[in-house]
């Protein structure tokens, strides 16, 4: 494995990769006797697209849940922006600037696209509950500010035509896009995507890839994603972590990972004799 330098550098296509944004140090996660994650360490650097891949049951989603604060690791430390993160509730993590999408879409089915995306702004709302209920001036002003931010994302994701449509009526690909929109509405520093292309057709995958690259490029958002489609992962990501049975078996650029014997074994299978 190559040593990773911590100096900011500029990639071939002109993006700046900064210092370490998040670092996982010797994370172990146990559910009773089951060890989901075993002593894994890696880092996510500012401005990069970091992929976590692995076969089914490798512990990828658990890892994402550790990052998003849904699970507290049994052992090990999570460092965010140079500080050790104490055990936190997910909403506290969200406030720190980490937003996510889900493997199975978790939108409010009966609400419109716009309302769903407005919920992404919830961590940025300051006016009190009575102020919002009574629609005071401060709440109105705040609402229009947040609406403006959401509209910029609507424009960015090209979903103007479904602005007022209840999400439950939308096709799968668009729902995924709305979910990405909701995560973006939180203006995250770190965006976690749990299988953003699962169940999509080629065209939808292409669209989604373009949006992920554009988000990274236009907003400078750091992205960590889990994905099964190897083609997509290799094209999109700057660095890849490979997991298998809760262990890290590879870490590096897509090319390095592709040549790693352990990774090949994990994906193609080896004969156990």
């Amino acid at each position: 494995m190559t040593m990773v330098s911590y100096e900011p550098f500029v990639t071939e296509d002109g993006r700046t990769i900064g210092g370490v944004l998040m670092e996982m140090r010797n994370i172990t996660l146990r559910f009773g006797g089951v060890v989901a994650i075993k002593d894994i360490s890696f880092d996510i650097r500012e401005g990069e697209i970091r992929a976590i891949i692995g076969p089914n049951g490798a512990g990828k989603s658990s890892m994402l849940n550790v990052i998003s604060g849904f699970y507290t690791p049994s052992e090990g430390e999570v460092w965010f922006e140079g500080q050790k993160r104490p055990p936190m509730r997910p909403y506290q993590v969200a406030r720190q600037g980490i937003a996510r999408t889900f493997q199975n879409i978790a939108l409010f089915q009966g609400m419109s696209t716009l309302d769903n995306m407005m919920t992404g702004r919830i961590t940025k709302m300051h006016s009190s509950l009575p102020a919002q209920a009574l629609w005071w001036a401060s709440a109105q002003r705040e609402e229009s500010e947040h609406r403006e931010a959401v509209e910029k994302i609507v424009d960015f994701l090209e979903i103007q035509h479904i602005r007022k449509t209840p999400v439950g009526r939308l096709p799968y690909g668009l729902q995924k896009r709305v979910e990405l929109g909701r995560a973006l509405a939180a203006e995250p520093r770190l965006l976690l995507l749990d299988e953003p292309m699962a169940g999509m057709n080629v065209e939808e995958k292409e669209d989604m890839s373009r949006f992920i690259l554009d988000v990274n490029d236009e907003f400078g958002t750091t992205i960590a994603l889990i994905e099964h489609d190897m083609g997509v992962v290799m094209d999109l990501s700057d660095r890849v972590v490979v997991m298998d049975y809760g262990k890290k078996i590879g870490d590096g650029t897509p090319d390095e990972v592709r040549g790693n014997q352990e990774v090949i074994d994990a994906y193609l299978g080896v004969t156990h004799d």
């Binding site: 002109g14 090209e158 103007q160 490029d217 236009e218």
Partner: protein
């Protein structure tokens, strides 16, 4: 031709009209665009300021007089502004179809020799960059939407806003030069160059002068009494002459507001929000709207369903009389008399409502009692009971009731409640579709036009509207029919020339200024309305010498909602045959209601029950064609339903969605052969082009069906 004359107000160019509007209508809305969910508005004064800044920016980049500047993008204010800004600099704007693939674009860019290209967004810039290695004269590319453009090499690439800033900064230096160039614009300087869609062969660049555009705009604005408070929605391709006339020519002349939709997908929502008063749409749009309404009515509850059908049936006969919007009249202050009249009208209305209620109560009582089983048939068959009101008054009040319950809400949903004048053109519109909108009280009319005529050749005046004619010659236009049946016209709007193509110019326009339309038609006896049969060159002879007019039959077929497109063959052959394209939304909905499962367009198109339905349509058309003594030879003997939708990306349709007959005949040659060799099915493989330019192929075995043919009427007469 009219002798060279200066316009009375010296308003002989679009920039001059803009200057007038900025003065006269300074704080009235000129352009609106929905962005970030809100309608952004620019007044005439603001728009004039933006355009001037843009023009100075273009000067700073070195735009020369007489140059051609390509503009590629969807309808957005900035793109319209860039056209006017280009004109200010003495150059000529050339709008291109934005959905054209790079290959098609390359020809036009090469032909017009543009040094400057204004692009809407990254997609268009990419296409221009793709062709740049073949077309070396492109020097500057400007773009309007910044998205995704950050990483591009900006040595010859500029953001439109930056150019404007530069223009503003250098206004002391550039202003006088710009004013000089604006002052040079005259009646005969070129206003715009528009490329024809190219039904056959390569597109041709039609050069239109200021005289063409402004005279035509003036005549048509006066014809329909359009005023500065009109609202239009600009959603048709900018490269199409109609959009140029409506959104620039007429808008500038009359000073009305042009509204640009948020994105192509939101057109229907935006239409509803704006509620245009003046509207133009090709028949296809009206068809789609009607199909959607019908589909949704099928799913509606019994009450709504019943009300809708009852009142639509009623409106068929009365809509024309009671529904049409009032013509614009000078509004005076309300007089006492008028007030009394309105009170009287309300009283009559209330009386009518009471009568109707009582009448219905009486009917319910007697009819339900006597004929409990057949109450339904007896209910309306008896006619009015009390008959206190004369029939026209009953109809008037009934129509008003329908307006409140059905027509009004429906028009509102469609976004057509404020329409004063709507036009349709480009293709023939189905009589049922046309009558549907007319009976709702929408003043939908037909016009017949061409790029070469700056749109208007004939149009229908208010009160003389019918679905089967295209109206009388527009003001200032002379129309004649040649021996061959081809329609010729002469007008102030007649184009100057085809760019770099004197042979075509000469063969289209003669020395006296008469232009051949390429369409065959005739004037109807008595009314003086023009009727178009078909493209003159498509009109041919069958093997037995009878007339072959494919479009005539195709239009009849296309009037069925199930049929999206039809292509009829038969020139020089002994019988007519047809390719048919089903309409996925209409047939798909029908399939859903009838529990027919299908996985793809191809499977649905090949379903036996779909074929049966289509066969029934074809046979009905044959019957109606058989009634026409001249065209009875065009009945369809055999047909097949195509396995793919005809598409402009595959070159089968033009960008304005007209059928390219020759291309289709060539591409599906084996299918045409199969139609004539008597086989009952045929296997085929077709290449398709996806939207991103990649190619694939689809395979299918198509069933060929025979359709019953009616006896030609004239032969029957001979026999009898």
């Amino acid at each position: 031709m009219t002798p060279h004359s200066a316009s009375p107000d010296e308003l002989c160019s679009i920039p001059a009209l803009l200057a007038r509007n900025a003065q006269v209508f300074s704080d009235r809305p000129a352009y609106r665009e929905k962005e970030f969910g809100i309608w952004q508005c620019w007044t005439w004064a603001e728009a004039a300021d933006e355009i001037r800044a843009m023009a100075m920016g273009l000067l700073a980049l070195g735009l020369q007089r007489g140059e051609y500047v390509a503009i590629i993008g969807r309808n957005r204010p900035a793109h319209y502004w860039s056209m006017v800004a280009v004109q200010m600099c003495g150059a000529v704007p050339v709008p291109l179809y934005q959905d054209a693939v790079a290959e098609e674009m390359a020809y036009v860019l090469d032909h017009c020799g543009a040094r400057f290209v204004v692009c809407g967004d990254q997609e268009q810039v990419d296409k221009v960059i793709e062709v740049q290695d073949r077309i070396h004269h492109i020097e500057h590319v400007l773009y309007n939407d910044k998205r995704g453009m950050r990483k591009y090499d900006h040595t010859h690439l500029n953001w439109l806003k930056d150019i404007e800033e530069e223009g503003r900064a250098g206004h002391f230096r550039l202003g006088p030069e710009l004013d000089r160039r604006i002052a040079e614009l005259a009646w005969d300087s070129t206003c715009v160059m528009l490329y024809t869609s190219g039904t056959t062969g390569k597109p041709k660049g039609v050069v239109l002068s200021n005289r063409n555009i402004i005279e035509t705009s003036r005549a048509s604005v006066e014809f329909d009494k359009l005023g500065p408070d009109e609202e239009v929605l600009a959603y048709l391709p900018m490269a199409w002459v109609g959009d140029f006339i409506f959104s620039i020519g007429q808008a500038m002349y009359a000073g009305f507001c042009v509204n640009c939709p948020e994105s192509p997908d939101t057109m229907m929502t935006d239409l509803r929000e704006i509620g245009p008063t003046y509207f133009f749409a090709p028949p296809r749009i009206f068809e789609t709207m009607l199909t959607n309404v019908m589909i949704r009515m099928e799913d509606a509850g019994d009450l709504k369903h019943g009300l809708f059908h009852h009142f639509m049936e009623f409106a068929k006969t009365t809509g024309e009389t009671y529904g049409m919007p009032k013509l614009r009249k000078q509004q005076s202050t309300p007089t006492l008399r008028r007030r009394w009249r309105s009170i009287f009208r309300y009283a009559m209305g209330i009386g009518f409502a009471v009568e109707t209620l009582v009448e219905n109560a009486v009917r319910l009582f007697f009819i339900k009692l006597r004929h409990p089983v057949k109450a339904r048939d007896h209910f309306s068959a008896r006619g009015p009971i009390f008959n206190l009101y004369p029939q026209p008054l009953r109809d008037y009040f009934d129509y008003r009731t329908g307006d409140v319950l059905v027509y009004g809400p429906l028009k509102n949903t469609l976004g057509l409640s404020r329409i004063r004048v709507a036009y349709t053109a480009g293709e023939a519109i189905g009589p049922e579709i046309f009558d549907f909108y007319r009976s709702l009280g929408i003043n939908l009319k037909q016009l017949y036009g061409q790029t070469e005529a700056s749109v208007f050749i004939t149009q229908q005046p208010n009160g003389e509207v019918r679905s089967d004619t295209v109206g009388v010659p527009s003001p200032g236009v002379e129309v004649k029919i040649a021996e061959s049946g081809e329609v010729f016209y002469r007008s102030p709007g007649v184009f100057v020339e085809y760019y770099k193509n004197p042979e075509s110019t000469a063969s289209t326009k003669d020395a006296e200024g008469w232009v051949a339309t390429g369409d065959a038609g005739f004037f109807e006896e008595g009314t003086g309305h023009l009727r178009i049969i078909d493209r003159a060159k498509d009109v041919g002879k069958m093997a037995d010498g009878s007339l072959f007019a494919p479009k005539y039959v195709e239009n009849k077929l296309k009037f069925y909602p199930d049929i999206l497109e039809a292509v009829v063959f038969g020139n020089g052959r002994e019988m007519c045959t047809a390719f048919i394209n089903i309409d996925l939304s209409a047939v798909g909905n029908w399939a859903e209601r009838n529990n027919i499962a299908y996985a793809s367009y191809q499977e649905l198109a090949g379903h036996p029950r779909v074929l049966e339905t289509i066969q029934a349509h074809v046979e009905e058309v044959n019957l109606s064609v058989a009634e026409d003594p001249i065209l009875s030879g065009c009945q369809i003997h055999r047909f097949l339903v195509l396995h793919k939708e005809l598409d402009a990306d595959d070159g089968e349709l033009t960008r304005t969605r007209k059928v390219r007959r020759n291309v289709i005949a060539e591409k599906f040659g084996e299918l045409v052969d199969a139609l004539y060799d008597g086989s009952t099915s045929v296997y085929t493989e077709t290449e398709v082009t996806y939207e991103d330019g990649r190619k694939g192929s689809i395979k299918a075995t198509l069933e060929i069906r025979d359709a019953k043919v009616g006896d030609p009427q004239h032969k029957r007469q001979v026999a009898a």
